[in-house]
């Protein structure tokens, strides 16, 4: 009951956040010079044609009316139609979401599988000579190599040397499960490098944070084996910051890894959003941002719930800060 109340309250706060984002994205998108009509119609259109299209798109009314109409529809689940394709925006996004989701989950999976053990190792070796230097530089490099450098190198390597994966063509997972997974692998790998490095660093910090705790000292004093201590007394206690990071990373990846999607020509939400920006396809920009925000808000509620389950001392239930 208390949990339900807490969740309810947390979701309400989420709604407030979403409303804030709705306001921000709506007005920010319209601050951008260049009307949808002029972008779409090109240079050769007449002013009358521009005006007609503007009226047709409902962009001639004052901003607050437009916002009211839009938010009214959003509440009923209608995000409007794309100016370019004329299709409902939600359908367009639904078409691209599986692609981005596959990529995001793969990248996150790789990041956690690599990052967590690496981070634990780093923490355990933090005090040893040599061990720390190598891993510090490796995870430092991981977060220092921009994805557009790494991505370009991967694209070049795989397109010039036959390595079994063609990257010139992307297959969506909905078209062919196996090919879809294979073609998601390289972009997911590129994305996962930063994520894995960030995970490793967070894990290291979290584990180091736990390792100073008296109950670890006590376990060591009992002569327990290191990996048993890690398994029983460290991982669970260090998992909250790691989970929080994972949620942030997932929200970031789902919100569109624009650059990597572009480099590998992945038809995902990110590249769609970028194009929509160029074309002033407001409905798409707004819906994509709202989607990313919903993911973010839901993820943060889930993470807080999970934190409560993981650490019984954190009784955020009932408290909000």
């Amino acid at each position: 009951m208390q949990t339900l109340r807490w969740v309810g309250r947390r979701l309400l706060m989420g709604l407030v956040t979403l409303l804030g984002i709705a306001l921000l994205v709506f007005f920010a998108a319209r601050l951008v010079p260049g009307q949808a009509a002029s972008v779409l119609l090109g240079p050769l259109a007449t002013q009358e044609q521009r005006d007609a299209l503007t009226a047709e798109l409902g962009l001639d009314r004052d901003l607050f009316t437009q916002f009211g109409i839009w938010i009214g529809k959003v509440v009923t689940g209608d995000f409007g139609d794309s100016i370019i394709s004329g299709q409902p925006v939600l359908d367009e996004i639904a078409l691209r979401l599986p692609v981005t989701a596959t990529l995001a989950l793969m990248a996150l999976g790789i990041a956690l599988l690599v990052g967590v053990p690496l981070g634990v190792l780093q923490a355990l070796r933090a005090r040893r000579r040599g061990g720390a230097v190598g891993s510090r530089v490796i995870s430092g490099l991981g977060i220092s190599v921009p994805e557009f450098v790494l991505g370009a190198l991967v694209v070049l390597l795989f397109s010039t040397v036959p390595l079994g994966i063609t990257i010139g063509a992307f297959t969506a997972i909905s078209d062919d499960l196996w090919l879809g997974l294979v073609s998601s692998l390289l972009p997911a790998l590129v994305l996962s490098v930063f994520c894995a490095a960030a995970t490793a660093r967070t894990t290291r910090d979290a584990v180091l944070g736990v390792l100073v705790e008296p109950w670890i000292q006590a376990a060591v004093g009992r002569g327990e084996r290191p990996w048993a201590i890690v398994r029983h007394h460290v991982l669970r206690n260090a998992s909250i910051p790691i989970l929080t990071l994972a949620a942030t990373l997932l929200a970031y990846l789902l919100g569109g890894a624009v650059i990597v999607e572009g480099l590998f020509n992945v038809p995902g939400v990110g590249s769609y959003m970028l194009l929509a920006m160029d074309r002033r396809d407001y409905a798409v920009i707004q819906a994509a941002v709202m989607l990313a925000a919903v993911v973010f808000v839901v993820m943060s509620v889930l993470v807080e719930l999970a934190s409560n389950l993981i650490d019984p001392r954190v009784s955020t239930m009932g408290a909000t800060t």
């Binding site: 972008v39 779409l40 240079p43 521009r50 990257i167």
Partner: protein, 541 residues
Amino acid sequence: MRTTSKITVAAAAIAALALTACTGGGATPGGSEQPADPNLPAGYASVADESIESAGGPLHVQVDYDTAEAQGLDPAFAEIARSWSIMGLVYESLVTVGPGFEIQPELAASWEQPDDTTYVFDLQPGATFSNGRAVSAADVVGSLNRLRESGSVWSGQLGPIAEIADTSSGDAQQVTITLETPFTPLLAALANTPAAILPMQEIEAGELDPTAEMLGSGAFTVAEHRQDESWSFEANAEWWNAEQLGIDALELTIAADDQTRLAGLRDGSTQLANFSNPDALSLLAGAQGVTAVSQTQSDFFYAMLNSVNPDSPFVDQQLRQTVNAVLDRQGIVDLALAGAAVPTAVTPANLPDACAADSVPSASAEPAADALAGESISLLIYNDDPSLTALAQVVQQQLQGAGAEVTLDSVDYGTYSERVYVAQPGDFQMALGWFAGYGDASMVTNWWNPETAVFNAGFAQPHDDLSAAIAEAQALPAGTERAEALQSVCDLADTHAEMVPLATRPQVVGIRSDQLSASVLSDEGYGDFLRLIAEFKTIEG
């Protein structure tokens, strides 16, 4: 840019060789450069081997951007070159453009011109829409009239049409177009996709919404379209020339990033891709199994010197002329366009009857070394076309070389179009852009009359002498006399110096030649590098 115009290239052969030599990019034997290959027939950059039996199968093509038009898939309103290429796969026009910009039969099997103002077209006997209904003269008349009445910018391209009539007798379908006055670019305009022949019967019956669906008489039908992502085409079994078609299906992937298309060609997952970056020639040099050819576009870059906005220094014609004279077009070609383009005047340099870039008055003017000293100029460009950005920087260097202070104002296309085309007067001093050069030297000259062009009314002024010269040239039949008339158009435009032509726009076509034997024209006016797709043959293995 992602959205607006069309393409080019020319004496690329020599330039490409020179480029490879100086970059040390390792010109592999059998690589991609194509010096004037003696085996190629005139007008071709690549020719499909007729002796090959096509292996069929799907053809994978990657292009840089998708069609995105306010009127959806309706060809009559299509403004982007890429739309023309894509729609041209499904729709046919009466005529098409062959090597050397020669007008050739397409939906019309033949035509006659009994006098200066009359054109009689006989349709292909077997022409059929993909729904199985035969193409009738009524479809042609209806489609062309629909274009004329559409208010589309292309309606004006057809010239002073008096009447389009169905003059069929019996089974032979025939259409006659009568002009009020002679208009030479008519056939070239009819060859462009906006003049495509639509199934008017279905449209008028409300069975087909041409903005949402394509139903044509051409080589392909649409199986699937995901906006900005991909197109799937299937061979149209009803096409009158279906037996000749070497491929069964066409998978068109939209890949905005040059790297992706380069990678697709290199790893063999793509058989054909286009590039507006002239350096694609050297970037593909040495790639196993890849041939890259440069297709000279009649599209060209030009500078706009705003003579309408009182805040612009270019209200002063003297200054405009000085800037025009300072600009070194060959230098621009060499540095910004990798040599894969040619300097041009108003009439696109590679079109018959065009005037030479160095024939106009500004070419022989010799401005002082500090002719622009004390001038401060703001140069507006949009930033998503690397060629344009490169060009702008070279222009900036050249003007600064003559003493001017030039600031580059790079904005995204939406902002650019707002400031250049929508704002009245145009909100800029100097800007750079490009547009299609089309298939006839006199077509693009229309844009030098702001009263009919409209889009440039915010920064250019109408000039009676220039407008008269344009009209006069368009009425003359191709030949020496017209070339002279066009020369005076070039000279006058050069003197007014409001829209200043610079150089043609490069286009490179990469072909996976171990998987595909492709035909590509060496010159193109509508950016349609897929024009000869019917001749393509896939290679087994």
